[in-house]
């Protein structure tokens, strides 16, 4: 016991030799950061934009769900929510224009959430088609 402690004392006083420069300590940094915040608060995005799509012709009654979802995103997450109802007239052009406008939020540091509620079917080539 005594010798051990004396040993540690001596060890403390005498520095070990200079270690040669090791490689990248990235894993260390990462581990440290993760250890620091195993359950951290916060958001890596500076901005979150949500677009909720449904049809003007809403025979399914999705409007109520869209409204609830909007409130959750807006009030509980403080996201920026846009609601768009796809018109029956020239829907493709209208929708694409709207999406392009929405994509002006496109940034490295943002998150875009895209929600669609409505009908869908398979097209002739197997691709999904949306319709009211």
């Amino acid at each position: 016991m005594i010798l051990l402690e004396m040993g540690s004392f001596v060890f403390h006083l005498l520095p070990t030799t200079h270690p040669s420069l090791p490689s990248i300590p990235a894993s260390n940094l990462q581990a440290a950061a993760k250890a620091a915040w195993p359950k951290q608060e916060g958001n890596r995005y500076s901005r979150v934009c949500v677009i909720l799509l449904s049809w003007v012709t809403d025979d399914l009654g999705v409007a109520s769900e869209v409204q609830r979802l909007r409130h959750v995103f807006e009030d509980m997450y403080q996201f920026q929510v846009e609601v768009y109802q796809i018109p029956d007239e020239k829907p493709d052009r209208a929708l694409k224009g709207r999406i392009l406008e929405f994509l002006s939020n496109d940034q490295d540091s943002s998150l875009l959430i895209f929600y669609y509620a409505g009908h869908a079917k398979r097209g002739q080539n197997g691709e999904p088609l949306w319709f009211p």
């Binding site: 500076s46 490295d108 943002s110 691709e127």
Partner: protein, 645 residues
């Protein structure tokens, strides 16, 4: 009868329960793939939520290699499946409930969101069907008939991955002051304190053309001081964007880690600023070196940033609409950024570490950490993180003056025993919050208070220890680690005397304090930055008269300069069980491993002695060592004022 929702019924469906809402005739259709392509091209991370039939059939439609964001999708049901009606069974309903519930917790990934939605949906079992008389329905084969499972399994898939892989993480944006409305040009939310261009992911505050009354994410004010490190990397080709991406993939709080500069060198040289708390957790590695404490952002960035913006070098993050008007849009941010970094790094406030001899004494460093300005290069390259943690923790909450003046005597709460032992801040409540959390309420009593003032004289003498001489091997803090827990109980006492004794007895050192608590040695240089509560740990001076008398005789041995045991207390002899002990060399009673160390120690002492007193003549010892007043060393963590174990 359940009606089909969002679905075109297809031939495989079980028509017994689903009505066929024939919408095939509808001419109004939108191919979703076109829209999805737009979204897949985005730089942002994108989450797609589809509550419609056939949704899982959607696959990527193009080949966009090297795009930046992650694209993930959760769809209400699989291919060839019909999504449930708008009711309690619907995907959106489960999604809303899950989101609402998770919003109160910690950040979560899309994968977790999916699994929660899934479990929310799957917590439902079909009940049996009964006929009008209340009899359980049976098929002709005798099987029970249950109601149709209306719920579908939502599908989660990743459309595109970023490299390196990261996941979309949901968290409520922090509440902040609402951004000014409709102002796209002024970048109003860019605060000076978050002006690290490009690197500060969250520093790019927001204002959008759509800015209504929505709250914006606003970076929390970081806590000061922070640490600046230099890191040497093997990989010379690392791009700053790679680092940015890497830091982004860390847990959210790691956004406080900032890259302050990057240089090409023989190995890439990187300057990183990080909160003290992360620094505390960094394991030792020779690849990074402590540069200094800082109490502000990189100020040179601010000027450059404003300049860069006015010159249009850096695109304003918000003015995405106008990006095309600039000769260099967002996409070209990387290159100018690197230039900016290089430029600004030259004029950094904190001196770059290439000039290691001087760098550590530069402005922002020296004001805070004279402790690192010792003559030895050894511990500059290999800073003593563990030992400094003790100080740093207090430092983080201690207002820092520019000059290392005498510590202000504040009213600091006395730490309780467990906190003291763990070297953690104690809030002074009894029981304190830490003990409450750890269930140690019983042990939460104050550490025995000791007189904490010190004679003024010490101020001058503090610096003297610096001049111990080059012969003294790289001042001990360099090799310091946290004191062994073995000593933690007594260290407050043991360390207390070191400072005084050092100066009082000249070349003879009280080794016991070094054994027990290494901070004792460096105390004089740390003392001004430690909190009052820790004073005695760090060797705040004690009155020369012992105040706490040992309950019993300490285990103690006195050594000569030749490492010969000159005198012991009774306990020492008993413990060693080696008689007679007096006159023996210390090496002889140590394990072989330690003998070398003792020899080295002895050499060190002698060198130092030669330097200080070249004319020193060692005393002539008689056979009887008892009761002679010759210079001795005492070893062992007991002393006249300490309680030995």
């Amino acid at each position: 009868m359940v009606s089909v929702r969002r679905a075109i019924h297809n031939s495989q469906s079980d028509t017994s329960n689903f009505s066929d809402r024939n919408r095939q005739s509808s001419l109004i259709t939108v191919p979703s793939s076109g829209i999805q392509t737009f979204l897949e091209e985005a730089d942002s991370d994108v989450l797609l939520l589809y509550d419609c039939c056939h949704s899982a059939a959607i696959t990527t439609t193009g080949d966009f290699q090297g795009n930046k964001g992650v694209k993930e999708v959760i769809s209400a049901c699989g291919y060839e499946t019909i999504a449930p009606e708008v009711d309690e069974h619907s995907f959106t309903n489960a999604l809303i409930e899950t989101l609402a519930m998770l919003s109160k917790g910690t950040p979560f990934s899309v994968g977790e969101l999916h699994s929660r939605v899934l479990s929310c949906l799957k917590c439902w079992t079909a009940s049996l069907l009964y006929d009008d008389d209340g009899k359980v329905l049976k098929t002709p084969e005798g099987n029970l008939v249950s109601e149709r499972q209306p719920r579908r399994t939502p599908i989660y898939s990743i459309l595109r991955e970023s490299t390196p892989r990261r996941s979309i993480v949901f968290a409520p944006l922090t509440l902040a002051q609402p951004a000014p409305e409709g102002n796209t040009q002024a970048n109003p939310s860019i605060t000076p304190s978050n002006a690290t261009p490009g690197l500060d992911i969250d520093g790019k505050a927001i204002s959008s053309k759509k800015s209504k009354k929505r709250k914006r994410a606003h970076p929390k004010e970081p806590s000061w001081p922070q640490i600046v490190l230099s890191v040497r990397l093997d990989e010379a080709e690392l791009e700053i964007s790679t680092w940015r991406e890497w830091i982004r993939s860390l847990p959210a709080e790691a956004k406080d880690i900032k890259i302050e500069g990057m240089y090409k060198s023989f190995s890439t040289l990187l300057l990183i600023r990080m909160p003290v708390s992360i620094w505390n957790l960094l394991p030792d590695n020779g690849a990074y070196s402590f540069v200094g404490y800082v109490t502000s952002e990189n100020l040179s960035f601010q000027d450059l940033e404003t300049q860069a913006w006015s010159e249009g070098i850096l695109d304003k993050p918000q003015a995405t609409k106008n990006a095309n008007e600039h000769p260099k849009g967002i996409s070209s941010i990387q290159e100018p950024l690197k230039d900016t970094l290089q430029k600004s790094s030259i004029s950094r406030d904190t001196t770059p570490f290439e000039s290691e001899d001087e760098g550590l004494n530069s402005k922002s460093t020296s004001s805070l950490s004279p402790s690192f300005s010792s003559s030895s290069t050894w511990h500059k390259v290999f800073p003593p993180p563990s030992s400094t943690t003790l100080i740093l923790k207090d430092l983080a909450n201690t207002p820092v003056s520019t000059k290392p003046k005498r510590r202000e005597t504040g009213t600091l709460a006395l730490a309780c025993v467990p906190c003291k032992r763990a070297h953690l801040r104690c809030d002074g409540q009894r029981p304190c919050s830490r003990c409450l959390a750890n269930g140690k309420e019983d042990a939460c009593v104050e550490v025995q208070s000791k007189k904490r003032s010190r004679p003024r004289l010490r101020d001058e003498s503090e610096s003297r220890y610096e001049g111990v001489g080059t012969g003294y091997p790289a001042l001990p803090e360099a090799s310091m680690r946290r004191p062994l827990s073995l000593y933690s109980t007594g260290e407050a006492f043991m360390a207390s005397g070191s400072g005084d004794t050092l100066h009082r007895s000249g070349q003879y050192r009280v080794l016991k304090s070094q054994i027990g608590s290494m901070p004792g040695l460096i105390a004089p240089r740390y003392i001004d930055y430690a909190s009052a509560g820790d004073t005695n740990i760090y060797g705040g001076s004690m009155p020369l008269t012992p105040r706490i008398l040992p309950p019993q005789e300490p285990i103690c041995a006195y050594l000569t300069m030749e490492m010969q045991i000159a005198k012991t207390t009774q306990n020492f002899g008993d413990t060693i069980a080696l008689q007679p002990i007096v006159g023996k060399k210390l090496q002889d009673i140590l394990s072989p491993n330690d003998q070398e160390k003792v020899l080295r120690l002895q050499r060190t002492f002698e060198e130092e002695r030669r330097e200080r007193e070249p004319n020193y003549v060692s005393p002539i010892f008689l056979n009887n060592f008892e009761d002679k007043s010759y210079p001795v060393r005492r070893i062992w963590p007991g002393s006249d004022r300490a309680t030995a174990n």
